[in-house]
């Protein structure tokens, strides 16, 4: 294969710098001994100490992790089913239900679920946030799984069936291992979307429940403080560990060879 040209390298490096410089700045200033995120004054851990003493922040972090874990699990199971069903069967209703939550602006899901939960008299909180997150993550998982299935050699499943495998066996022994990278990628995506989600959470969490995005939002609306940098740095560290773990558990997750 031809080597990419220097122009492509240069453009890609610009892309990577654009992705990383802002995050690097957040991390660097979390260790800066100054309230202003402006000039480097000196090294400190003060912002992290403040964070450790911030009960509201800790509770929010716990909430976020619980919600994201449950969401990733449920959305991956339901999304894989949906992706498989959409690939395999000619259904009209399922693709509409699965794909429209993605094909509509997030805010619509947020406000419609708010209406739904309020009219049902369901107390807004962790449960309502989870229910909402699962609903919008199913489609993302389904798309990843379906596109993997579409790129798969159909004759492999047919061969398994010809050799006497039941549909369930063909799925478990042939199809599932082949689409596993997509399933895990879908789970990672669902976890990310959930922990990252601000909009739907904003409408469905109610007044009493905090998640990390909600706390960060109210903090940066009121004042800029390096405490936000500190919590951001920790959150980034967590996701780094999770992704490394995921790629160890399932080599090839991010490689769609």
């Amino acid at each position: 294969m031809k080597r990419p040209s220097w122009l492509l390298y240069a453009a890609a490096i610009v892309g990577y710098l654009f992705l990383y410089i802002p995050l690097a700045i957040v991390v660097v200033y979390s260790f800066n001994d100054s309230r202003l995120n402006a000039e480097w004054v000196g090294f400190t851990f003060d912002w992290y100490r403040k964070l450790a003493a911030n009960d509201e922040m800790i509770q929010a972090a716990v909430n976020s992790l619980v919600i994201a874990t449950v969401t990733a699990f449920a959305a991956t199971v339901l999304g894989t089913m949906a992706g498989f069903a959409m690939h395999r069967y000619r259904s009209r209703v399922l693709p509409i239900l699965v794909l429209t939550p993605i094909a509509i602006p997030e805010i619509l899901m947020g406000v419609s679920l708010l209406l739904f939960f309020v009219l049902l008299n369901l107390t807004l909180g962790i449960v309502s946030v989870m229910l909402a997150h699962i609903a919008f993550c199913i489609g993302f998982v389904a798309i990843v799984v379906r596109s993997r299935l579409a790129g798969m050699d159909e004759s492999l499943t047919e061969a398994a069936r010809d050799c006497g495998a039941t549909p369930a066996q063909a799925f478990r022994l042939v199809t599932l291992p082949l689409i596993m990278p997509a399933v895990i990628a879908g789970a990672l995506m669902a976890f990310t979307l959930s922990i990252d989600d601000f909009v739907i959470t904003f409408f469905t969490a109610g007044a009493g429940t905090q998640t990390l995005p909600l706390v960060i939002y109210s903090m940066i609306k009121i004042s800029v403080t390096p405490e936000v940098n500190a919590v951001s740095t920790l959150l980034m560290l967590l996701t780094l560990v999770l992704i490394v773990l995921a790629s160890k558990l399932a080599p090839g997750t991010l490689r769609s060879s």
Partner: protein, 326 residues
């Protein structure tokens, strides 16, 4: 489907002409029945879940758009004195005041610019990763995905720092512009800041589908194009880019739609003039508490987004190309 007879089953009911035919018909029948049960088992749970937590809430919102606002916000009772209490008031308000239309046009422009800038930034990234040796692709893709794993608001907040009045960028820019006789420029709380934030937050949505597409391209196509005398530029525009269009449109839809309804980025990075449609919807639901009008705005937003996404899907529909059907 259970309950309906497939042609194969009908054929099986008719007198089979030979044993082999009967056996084949039996297998086909068994497969199709089995497929019916399997289909129900696989599609049922996601159908049910999304029916309850997606379709019904949307339906409730559509109905809410025809209801009267409650005296203290929210919704007025739907049945009053035994009669349905519905109105077109909220739709009339939307249709008669041009300020809402202008807000929509502005939001579409912001989202379209975001999509374009994302495409320009994402393409080289996706292409480089797709053409790198296999052993590096994981790492390079990971490097694109990692920022996406950091919280949405953290990424917006990063630009608050970068564009803030005390930042190196702001002071550097003004140090250059000042001697040239320009007034000091404020980067934060501007349309520029909103656009930068929108592009930064949505960039990975563009890289992922593009990479998934580009990675599948057969490198032999480029070799063939080169053998036929195409230079690098022609190889890109006449082979790589046309083949990548499904990825481009998928990425465009993934960027455009969320960007259209966003309210947090204008809230945080924008100035007073950067209110978008999302901000108005948020205000109607949480501050003014005019739920019928908020519902109307949300429905119009969705119709606009779906119409544009439908257009993109139509443009990207699978077509037979010189290289066979994609």
């Amino acid at each position: 489907m259970p309950g309906t007879s497939s042609p194969a089953e009908v054929a099986a009911d008719a007198a089979p002409e030979s044993l082999a035919d009967a056996e084949r018909a039996r297998v086909v029948t068994w497969q199709s029945r089995d497929r019916g049960v399997g289909r129900w088992l696989v599609s049922g749970p996601p159908l049910l879940y999304l029916g309850v937590f997606f379709a019904i809430p949307i339906l409730i919102m559509v109905i809410a758009s025809f209801r009267f606002p409650g005296e203290f916000g929210g919704l007025a009772p739907i049945v009053e004195d035994g009669e349905l209490n519905l109105t077109l008031e909220a739709y009339e308000r939307f249709a008669t005041d041009p300020i809402y239309w202008e807000l929509f046009v502005k939001s579409v422009v912001y989202a379209a610019l975001t999509t374009l800038f994302c495409l320009v930034l994402a393409y080289p990234l996706a292409m480089l990763i797709a053409r790198s040796p296999k052993k590096y692709r994981d790492l390079l893709m990971l490097l694109v995905i990692l920022p996406f794993w950091s919280n949405f608001l953290i990424r917006v907040y990063a630009w608050m720092i970068i564009l803030g009045p005390q930042s190196i960028a702001s002071r550097g820019l003004n140090a250059v512009l000042g001697p040239l006789g320009f007034e000091p420029v404020t980067l934060l709380f501007s349309s520029f800041a909103v656009l930068v934030g929108l592009v930064y937050v949505h960039l990975p949505f563009m890289v992922l589908p593009l990479y998934a597409n580009l990675e599948k391209h057969d490198p032999a196509l480029l070799d063939a194009a080169q053998d036929l005398g195409a230079n690098a530029w022609q190889r890109f525009w006449r082979v790589t880019f046309p083949l990548s269009l499904p990825g481009v449109w998928a990425g465009a839809a993934l960027v455009f739609i969320p960007a259209l309804g966003i309210f947090a980025i204008p809230d945080i990075l924008g100035g007073t003039g950067d209110t978008l449609i999302g901000n108005l919807i948020k205000q109607q639901f949480l501050e003014t508490r005019d739920w019928p009008f908020g519902s109307v705005l949300s429905i119009v937003l969705t119709v606009v987004a779906l119409a544009l996404a439908g257009l993109a899907a139509w443009v990207a529909r699978p077509r037979r190309t010189a290289f066979g059907s994609p």
